[in-house]
């Protein structure tokens, strides 16, 4: 049996789903529970080929409810377990993840977004933002990383395991069908050789007796009274808000003097980056802002940008799901909001350039 899946670092050219499987191996994940749904299938395909070589396991379940709940069982038994899904599977995944929120079970879910609502397309969208950030019958006690390229898929999948086990909130890596299926160059590496320390797992159920004495645990997600629940949720929210600044990540450039700031996330932010660079070369005062964590959202960071800019241009492959998060974050700001919403469809840098110029023209005409 090979010792480490990745020795040192290696330049590779692979699909995003393959990247996720390698990242989970690199993060020392021990077991994957999964159910087929496009476009995430190849995560399982690569995992089932690679995992046995490193003494790791897999269970194909009967549906995503089972994939989620078996994942939680694996975590409770002390293993680094994870799952992956998409679209309608993500809908079902919200039930187990709400249990993870209530019981503070560390868990990692990779989402490769597809078109919605319903079965829609198996290809691509950014329409699972609302569900992934605030799904389930709760308060959104979770962390969502929205990746833009294959290097990030690798880096953030590894990071997701540490975030989940450190803070004990379910953690999602939100990719999409384009990232899942396209091939791209990236560097994979052994995280420990780079100095990254893994947060140790914890055995919640089935712990061996200590000095012959077993202390049984009783875990539950149900409460008898409103007050009892209120106390628990208040404490969880306080903890969440306290650690949120440590978790929040975003990227921005050219925002200092920008009149228009393009706000986008995930794969769309790549088009936005090119568009902003081109427009800057033309001499237009355009900036770039990208939330990496959609939950918790970089609200303070965006507020600062919104305070200086005249307009935020919200660009996404959904009809305003990221926009809702933005509006919530900058509430009270008087910045103008414009949008380029293309639900379920990719967005090019050319389209963003055209949209920015329209807004510029409109502003001059006033």
């Amino acid at each position: 049996m090979a010792e480490k899946p990745i020795q040192g670092e290696k330049r590779v050219f692979m699909t995003g789903n393959e990247v996720v499987a390698w990242a989970a191996l690199a993060a020392k994940a021990e077991i994957m529970y999964g159910y087929p749904i496009t476009p995430q299938n190849e995560i399982m395909h690569y995992w089932t080929r690679l995992a046995p070589k490193f003494g790791k396991r897999f269970l194909q379940t009967e549906d995503e409810l089972s994939a989620g709940f078996t994942t939680l069982g694996g975590v409770l038994a002390g293993r680094k377990a994870f799952t992956a899904t998409a679209g309608p599977g993500n809908t079902l995944m919200q039930e187990p993840m709400s249990m993870a929120e209530m019981m503070r079970i560390p868990s990692v879910v990779i989402i490769q977004q597809r078109g919605g609502p319903s079965t829609a397309t198996v290809i691509y969208s950014q329409q699972e933002v609302t569900m992934t950030t605030y799904g389930g019958n709760g308060e959104g006690l979770r962390v969502v990383y929205s990746t833009a390229n294959h290097q990030e898929l690798f880096d953030y999948t590894i990071k997701a395991f540490n975030t989940a086990w450190k803070y004990r909130f379910p953690t999602f890596v939100l990719g999409d069908g384009y990232q899942a299926k396209m091939r791209e160059s990236l560097t994979i590496y052994d995280p420990e050789e780079k100095g990254l320390e893994f947060v140790p797992t914890e055995t919640f159920l089935g712990k061996a007796p200590v000095n012959g004495v077993k202390q049984p645990v009783h875990l539950r997600n149900t409460y008898n009274t409103e007050e009892e629940l209120y106390e628990v949720i208040t404490r969880y929210m306080e903890e969440y808000l306290k650690v949120a600044p440590e978790i929040i990540e975003h990227r921005e450039f050219s925002c200092e003097d920008a009149d228009i700031v393009v706000v986008s996330h995930g794969v769309v932010s790549r088009a936005a980056k090119v568009a902003v660079q081109e427009l800057r070369e033309e001499g237009l005062k355009i900036g770039y802002f990208r939330p990496v964590t959609l939950r918790p959202f970089p609200a303070e960071e965006l507020k600062k940008v919104a305070a200086r800019a005249k307009t935020l241009l919200l660009v996404e492959s959904a009809f305003g799901q990221m926009a809702k998060l933005v509006k919530d974050a900058i509430f009270g700001s008087t910045v103008a909001l414009e949008n380029l919403f293309k639900p379920g469809v990719g967005i090019t840098s050319e389209e963003i350039v055209v949209r920015v110029k329209e807004i510029e023209k409109g502003a001059l005409a006033k």
Binding site: E30, I31, Y33, R57, L59, T61, E62, D63, L65, S66, F69, T70, T71, L72, G73, G74, V75, L76, A77, G78, R79, A81, E95, P96, M99, L205, G206, K207, P209, K214, P216, V217, H218, L219, R220, N221, T222
Partner: protein, 250 residues
């Protein structure tokens, strides 16, 4: 001096008297289960999963590692535990709604995969925690809150034959039985064998227990007992359906 009634060693005294209604069969099933755990000496190795419905009231019932889950999802949770740590002895404890309706796909597939877990399903012919609605196991003609004129089999079919279904879809190594709270000695024997079957690594083990619900049946003690002994057994045969250990002796 206060007399403490005799209770299984694996019971958690702090949570007694338990929270089930007077006359409820859960306490009896859990007593048989507690004695089975004691006699097998496995208290420190058990992971007990409790479903939603009245079975959730068992979340602090035993001095064993316990996890209370969602409605129908106890089978996958303990499957996940067992797959991650085969050394523990996993029990999924649920009602007829959890096992035969909302979680039926999990029961069917865990059985088909021959998961090395023990599922215990309490059949009381109704959804009791939510106020007595029709369950998959409600008897034909039986009145519930959602069948106020009696269960019409043309509208909603016949009672689910759980152990028969599990027996039909499992192969070598599975243990399947139906016991009743009216015969606790036999029920305890079935539970013990179902646990032993898991410990031997044979395969999926399933015990349905016919149980009582006087609160929702609106029956007195005598009628409650008559219902479980006479009415339920018309549809649900008590006995062992599959026992890998018995094969050689036959």
């Amino acid at each position: 001096m206060t007399m403490i009634p005799q209770m299984p060693k694996s019971w958690r005294l702090e949570s007694k008297p338990h929270k089930f209604c007077p006359g409820c069969g859960h306490g009896l099933v859990l007593k048989a289960l507690g004695e089975a755990i004691d006699e097998l000496g496995i208290q420190d190795k058990v992971v007990f999963g409790a479903d939603i419905g009245c079975s959730l009231l068992a979340w602090d019932f035993f001095n064993v590692d316990t996890v209370q889950t969602h409605h129908g999802r106890t089978t996958p949770v303990v499957t996940g535990v067992k797959r991650a740590n085969p050394d523990v002895i996993c029990i999924a404890y649920m009602g007829d709604g959890g096992g035969y309706a909302i979680g039926s796909q999990h029961l069917v597939n865990a059985a088909a995969r021959n998961e090395r877990i023990t599922a215990i399903l309490v059949n009381n012919c109704n959804y009791a925690m939510t106020g007595g609605q029709m369950a998959p196991t409600t008897l034909p003609g039986m009145k519930t809150e959602t069948t106020p004129y009696g269960r019409d089999v043309r509208e909603s079919g016949y009672p689910t034959q759980g152990p028969e279904m599990v027996a039909a879809i499992t192969r070598e190594g599975s243990y399947v039985a139906r016991g009743t709270v009216a015969n606790l000695k036999q029920l305890k024997g079935f539970l013990k064998k179902a646990l032993q079957n898991q410990m031997d690594g044979n395969g999926f083990s399933f015990v349905e227990a016919l149980s009582t619900c006087p609160t929702n049946w609106r029956t007195n003690a005598k009628d409650t007992w008559a219902f479980v002994e006479k009415e339920m057994t018309k549809f649900f045969n008590v006995g062992e359906l599959k026992n890998p250990a018995a094969k050689e002796g036959e």
